[in-house]
Subunit: 322 residues, 2 copies
């Protein structure tokens, strides 16, 4: 087990947490961004605030013990939004247990004297991929997570962009069809309203896709597309085109060099990436925009944890608050 | 004449230049961003590179003399793109006289030892409005110029965003209609393809607007809209809606607090701003996005010159190169 804190007393070691709607992952991460130990537990979304808090606290204790209880340099957390930033009062979508739950304050009380930093989970994916993944060494990177929702984070000039209230990177609400379908955000024609897993499945069902499983997901859709189902394939191409339109808008506004795409829906691979690339190519014609590289995430499911760790371990680039 | 360098020897004074397709404006600007003297001359767009260069050099000498020939702290230039950045080799659209003209190098040779900084003209408008205009005191500002083209500049975290190649802020190429009209950039459905002056006029003509003047512009269109011409009014609303869609995408991606809109087409005022505001309101529903303020430029035609001056006078915020 390389990089273990006990073996390198000078290397800072942090606790990293990734809080999603269905599971919480926690890890001990060393100063090089390597995961020394990790564990996960279901998100007790329907329980009381304190039951969920205790599950998180127990998880942190367990993973810290797994790693040999090294001294800690801080705690970094990615959590499903919405939240207030940088205060870290979280009201995660699909987790009614926590509404304005003072996650950052509670963690500070539990780890007195240590930096505790909380940011949006998709922001942490973007940070992780910039710090140690597919965006490493690039200064202008958009990270995008296409999943149950569509989120992201924006790194410009080598630093995380927070915007006025920590909400920069909401790439899922770039408008890709002004008269398009309604979006959970209350708007219309957002990327998320077209390309999220549930949006994809709904669109395909409305056009005659009839999976056996009533709870079929975008993974089933992708399988049917591979098996030659016309509507399923069209749904993935449509999502890819929407991603391409959003990337065209983003590259023109921000002069990005790299877009890193992850999340469950992106696992379908070529059908999504090819359509995104073709659409981007049709809309981004100026030299600078044509230089955008579009790549899948390199860290897989770990990028959110690595990014949460980077909020502490590379705070000069990824944490502008406090 | 307050702020004149001769009266305040401690205040830095700079030459500021705004190079457009039809005219070049130059000014002496004091350390507070006040224009001490200014002049303009036609852009000799069809002449040889050296004839245009001499016209610029003469203009700079004249305006410097007007101001009492104060000692200079630098030269800041906004120029129509495209250009290489930060090298400042310019190939301004509609100015065939200069193709890869080494403007920054030539100015450095003329003003040895002084900082010479060249950026896109619309970026300078955004910088000017952030430094001393309608975006002053805000940290996350998009400046937009709606005119013959649609350009802009982006300030995030209080600093100008350059992006990978100095091209950040190309707001005119945010996609507002994926299947929309072709754009001069080679793409399709860009904001510029819908909302620029020539795009507006073309759309209205195709739908029955018949101005007496064959060279009628968006100003004539606005006048006819005020006089009750249905198609003219619809053209302005369409442009405003496109601006609103672009702003919705930008606020979600960058978490802006302020958008400042200037340029000739924006002079039509309410018909454009009202439609933009209504469309933004329909697409930007999350709390953070609803906080975006959309305001007209405050410095009028001077914002480009003030911004060019700020490249030197406030380089810590607006000039990341060298």
């Amino acid at each position: 087990m390389t990089g273990r804190a006990g073996e390198r007393a000078d290397a800072p070691t942090v606790l990293a947490v990734d809080i999603g709607g269905t599971k919480i992952a926690a890890a001990v991460v060393d100063g090089d961004g390597r995961i020394v130990a990790d564990r996960r537990t279901p998100t007790l979304a329907q329980e009381s605030p304190e039951v969920l808090w205790k599950a998180l606290a127990d998880l942190l204790d367990a993973v810290h013990a797994d790693a040999g209880a090294p001294p800690l340099a801080g705690v970094g957390v990615g959590c499903v939004g919405p939240m207030t930033w940088p205060d870290g009062e979280v009201s995660p979508l699909n987790v009614p247990a926590w509404r304005r739950f003072p996650l950052r304050r509670r963690l500070r009380e539990r780890y007195p004297g240590l930096p505790v930093r909380v940011h949006n989970d998709a922001v942490c994916v973007a940070v992780g991929e910039h710090w140690r993944g597919a965006g490493r060494g690039r200064d202008n990177v958009l990270g995008m997570v296409v999943s149950t929702g569509v989120g992201g984070g924006l790194v410009l000039g080598g630093r995380l962009v927070d915007g006025a209230s920590g909400n920069a990177g909401h790439v899922g609400h770039i408008v890709v069809e002004p008269d398009g379908p309604p979006c959970p955000c209350g708007g219309r024609g957002c990327l998320e309203a077209v390309a999220s897993g549930p949006s994809l499945v709904r669109w395909a069902r409305e056009r005659g896709w009839r999976p056996d499983d009533p709870d079929a997901t975008s993974a089933d859709l992708a399988a049917d597309a591979r098996a030659g189902h016309r509507v399923a394939a069209a749904a993935l191409r449509r999502a890819g085109r929407a991603v391409g339109v959003a990337l065209a808008s983003a590259v023109h506004l921000c002069d990005l060099d790299t877009a890193v795409i992850g999340g469950g829906v992106s696992q379908v691979g070529a059908p999504l990436f090819d359509a995104a690339g073709e659409t981007l190519d049709a809309h981004a014609r100026m030299d600078f925009a044509r230089r955008l590289r579009v790549v899948p995430t390199a860290l897989g499911q770990a990028s959110g944890l690595i990014g949460a760790a980077a909020l502490v371990l590379a705070g000069d680039r990824y944490w502008a608050a406090d």
